[in-house]
Amino acid sequence: MTQTRHEPTGQAAMKMHQLITADGTRVGDELLDPFVQDVDENTLTSLYRDMVVIRRIDVEATALQRQGQVALWPPMLGQEASQVGSVRAVEKDDFIFPTYRENGVAYIRGAKLPGIMGTWRGNMNTGWDPYEVNMATPQIIIGAQTLHATGYAMGIAMEGKEAMAIAYLGDGATSQGDVHESMVFAASFQAPVVFFCQNNHWAISEPVGLQSAVPIAGRAPGYGIPGLQVDGNDVLAVLAATRWAARRARSGGGPSFIEAVTYRMGPHTTADDPTRYRGVTELEEWAAKDPLDRLRTYLLNAGMLDAAGEAAIAADADAVAAELRDACINIPDPEPMSAFADIYVDAHPVLDREREQYRRYLASFAGQPGAGHQVQGSAS
């Protein structure tokens, strides 16, 4: 069988668009520059603030998992620029179709902390009203959301509206049939959809080279969709690239594919052990390209940020973390009968009967402290 490839090797590397280098230097990019001309000092510091806050959210949520307060958490550590840069290019009327890792996107989009945490704590499936924040439920089935985004975008086009859908996906997802079919449909119907792929280099333990022999963004042209590779740790470049794609979508230009080249610094989820499959040197290489550090250096050098400003941002982030912890541990356990809620819109006699049977069953324990049997060794 073929050897596992770490990086795509089948095609010469694509041009990776960048605006701020790893050492914090602003560089020019012909395609992207026009999309960030309005970005002033305020916007830049707010992009930085957003990244600091979501990193803080990530650290706090990871700690809560370790303390047994949430069942599982998918860290976004290292991907802050991709999440912040992309979602900040999304307008209110656009619709976001995320994976499970876009918790930073959800926060910036306006989802409330108890909702974000409730999913991972096991209290609820979705912690926000999709129509309130124009963001779909987190998607665990790899790739499925790309079809939903494409269909949503086809709807926008049919209504003649100026809006778009954006689908987030990982590098691993690009192997799924759903993703390929969504690109076929998007191209056939010129749907205003943006495929935003965060190539964080790993699909659990599998390196990106196993999923794609060519740079991921290089696949899109085969479907008739322009593909753009952007430095996913450069928040300004991600913002510009997503605006580029958004403008294409809104102006009737059809679908675009962005590959944000980034890196997952943490484990896949808190249940994963990355030391089994990846080396420390790789981690060190990517640590040197940290998305927060480079913007911070740039802002400090440009005199847009000073110690007081940093302290204020850190205090904001701490406050969000405290709010998150508080929100998380105070989410009430769901009421048992809520398991039967919202399964059907119309009455369903079979389920209604089941619900009534279970209500009676629970009632049969009424008045018994610590109701039910306890048998040693039973994990049920």
């Binding site: 596992t4 999923q211 499959y277």
Partner: protein
Amino acid sequence: MSKLSLTQAINAGLRRAMEEDPKVVLMGEDIGTLGGVFRVTDGLMKDFGSHRVIDTPLAESAIIGTAVGLAYRGFRPVCEIQFDGFIYPGFDQIVSQVAKLHARTHGKVRMPLTIRVPFGGGIGSPEHHSESPEAYFVHTSGLRVISPSNPQDAYTMLRQAIASDDPVLYFEPKRRYHTKGEVDLDAALSAAPLMGAARVVAPGTDVTLVSYGPLVRTALDAATAATADGVSVEVIDLRSLSPVDYAPIMESVRRTGRLVIAHEAGKTLGLGAEIAATITERCFNYLESAPVRITGFDIPYPPSKLEKHHLPDLDRMLDGVDRALGRTNSQTGMED
């Protein structure tokens, strides 16, 4: 004899099968370097190489579909689906290709695939990680469906599945992955009980309680608890879900006159429905009361904070036993 956890027993079964037959190859997501998300394939890539323990791209339809091609070519692929809820992208390949190719080619082509699926709830996971999709496959002719409940069966039944020339879905009770038990690694396969055979795991005289996979342990606990109430429950571990081995169930029901069936999957058209109907057809004259099903609800698997309600536990089994015995139970007065 060695004391092994269920995961270790499966690992040992895979290892033995690979040693015995060079045509056995493993395929799946993350099964190589990582050893699988549950570490079931731990160490196998190191020992057998990446051409036999194949880390595939992230695509279930392709995992099953390429295994079909390998089987055409004489291999015996063992596919890992990472979690129950991720089998659906591969569903078409399983029901339209794997299950039917033997019949479609008039017996010329064999599909000796084994598809391993960690299944069931009780581990506090988010959506799509706790499902019990076995009925879809039981409903599809051309497939065999089995589920071990203990390490010894896990080891032996897996080897039998791999050795079988029919496609086998092997449902692993993931919440029992860490359950330990004695495993005889060297007993001859030919001497072991067939993978299609059900087994009485606790004898009893008043009620027959049938279950499989993760709930067998719970059923045994319920039988113990029932003793305290003076009720003798016979517990049967189904082991094979397709085909169901009816002989020991019928033999038991003819003695006890009462049948309770428990599974985690939803009630409607679940395996319990099939067993209740069949036993009613075949043992009607022996039944003292209607068969009772204790199952998950007909709801999408709920958020984990609610799963203790959804999953049949010891008390719900006892409540079902009470129903079968005509004693007062939670549903008394709900006769229509």
